[in-house]
Symmetry: C2
Subunit: 271 residues, 2 copies
């Protein structure tokens, strides 16, 4: 592997199972306009949520190797499931700094909660890994955490049904335990979920704080770059977007997550 550790002008590598991580990429762009980014979305193998830890680790390993070949100076795992299963492995394996989205989200939730009753919604893989519960208890050992997998939220968001009757019906069922447990803070532990914020807020109660780890992860990225003397010092960042399936899905749905238009997508296939 080629390593660009130590090169301030090198881009940051960001990856996700698909397009959801674009919310994290966008937060980094806004907060760190001098940084260049290479975003990889594994659109050929999305979703990671229902897959086994071993498979998610294998995919994450391949993508990290690809990003290092592109000369990145640091890697942001912008996928909750990949963070939950693969972050410790990537930290061991890679010569560049790596951060995930779970710890920033957990920290923000602990800071936001007054009652110490915190809810977490995420994919089946993330919930089963226990990563959020561990990360919350590392910050606040006496927090009472309610966690639940919400596997239908990703396909509903991808269908664009962010305010459909069916989505209300699904969300009412998924969120009932959090209403019952009277959480005052809910972690949206999947990068697709922020698109459902209005609906989730309505069901769970508008006084419940909804934690979206994108902004917090961008702050962590800034801190990490500073610690390793890797922050870009001047100029404006450039952005590359890479997908493992064809461009269509990226160009059609990317804006929903990214906010801005994405004009060009490169392809890199695996397997």
């Amino acid at each position: 592997m080629v390593s660009s550790a130590g090169n301030r002008a090198a881009p940051i590598g960001i990856f996700d199972s698909g397009l959801g991580g674009l919310t994290v990429a966008h937060a980094i762009m806004r907060q760190l306009p001098a940084e260049s980014l290479v975003y990889f979305g594994d659109t050929a193998r999305v979703p990671y949520g229902p897959k086994s830890p071993d498979t998610v680790r294998r995919y994450s390993h391949e993508i990290a190797a690809y990003l290092l070949e592109q000369g990145v100076k640091a890697i942001v795992v912008a996928c909750n499931t990949a963070t939950a299963h693969a972050l410790p492995m990537l930290e061991r394996e890679l010569d560049v700094p790596v951060i995930g989205v779970v710890e920033p989200g957990a920290r923000a939730a602990v800071r936001a909660s007054r009652s110490g009753r915190i809810g977490v919604i995420a994919t089946a893989g993330t919930i089963k890994s226990g990563a959020y519960v561990r990360a919350i208890h590392a910050e606040a050992p006496d927090a009472r955490v309610t966690a639940r997998a919400c596997p239908l939220f990703v396909p509903l968001v991808e269908e664009g049904w962010i305010n459909h009757d069916a989505t209300w019906s699904v969300a009412q069922e998924y969120l009932a335990p959090f209403v019952h447990d009277e959480v005052d803070t809910l972690v949206l532990g999947c990068t697709h979920y922020p698109l459902l914020k209005p609906l989730i807020g309505e069901i769970i109660g508008r006084d419940v704080r909804l934690i979206d780890s994108a902004e917090e992860t961008a702050l962590d990225t800034q801190r990490m770059l500073a610690e390793h003397s890797l922050a870009a010092t001047s100029g404006e960042g450039t952005y590359r977007f890479v997908a493992s399936d064809d461009q269509q899905q990226f160009l059609a749905l990317g804006q929903r997550f990214f906010g801005d238009t994405i004009e060009r997508v490169e392809i890199r296939t695996f397997g």
Copy 2:
């Protein structure tokens, strides 16, 4: 590639993006008890429905090569999306006979319809390919076909919500065009959909014929084996199940599709 063409005792290879194709495997078991089967479910890369034709063809090619290494005498593509995108390629590439699920389903629909108004529901990839509309028009050029992608049905079935309020709400929206167009026959063009038969029947009207291609594909398999002098002549078949992700999902959900218990699943990873 090793080829077992011509060997009557060799197994039939069957593949699907995941577990849905087990409905086809089960129909073949029941109709052809002397045949042995090797079933491959690409559970690490499921679903194929939203993926591009090129990616689905690449995956199908890899799996067919693996099945030939296992010594299969014929291949059944038990996945509508893979059939829609990859069947012509596999027919060209492989030395053994190959059949898919689209043509048997289309033929059964044409036979069942009195009014010639036929509906097709399937994944986004299958619908975009136009494979069903072509196959129906090849049998009945004046049929009036209404086709619609139903991307949420697969995740709803996998969540086990086959009679949930949300599933009713989704199905009512997806099926409205077929009620409007007064189809008398509806092709369930994805191997997950037969699990929603009661709900679909209730919404679309009980007099509408629902076509599930599993039984029809098993009949086609029998015909194909006879034509190529490949039918097993005696004894009882043996069954192997192989997945690309770990066994958990297969063992947990397999029975829903297969009807019988699956006790052992081998693993073969790609990519």
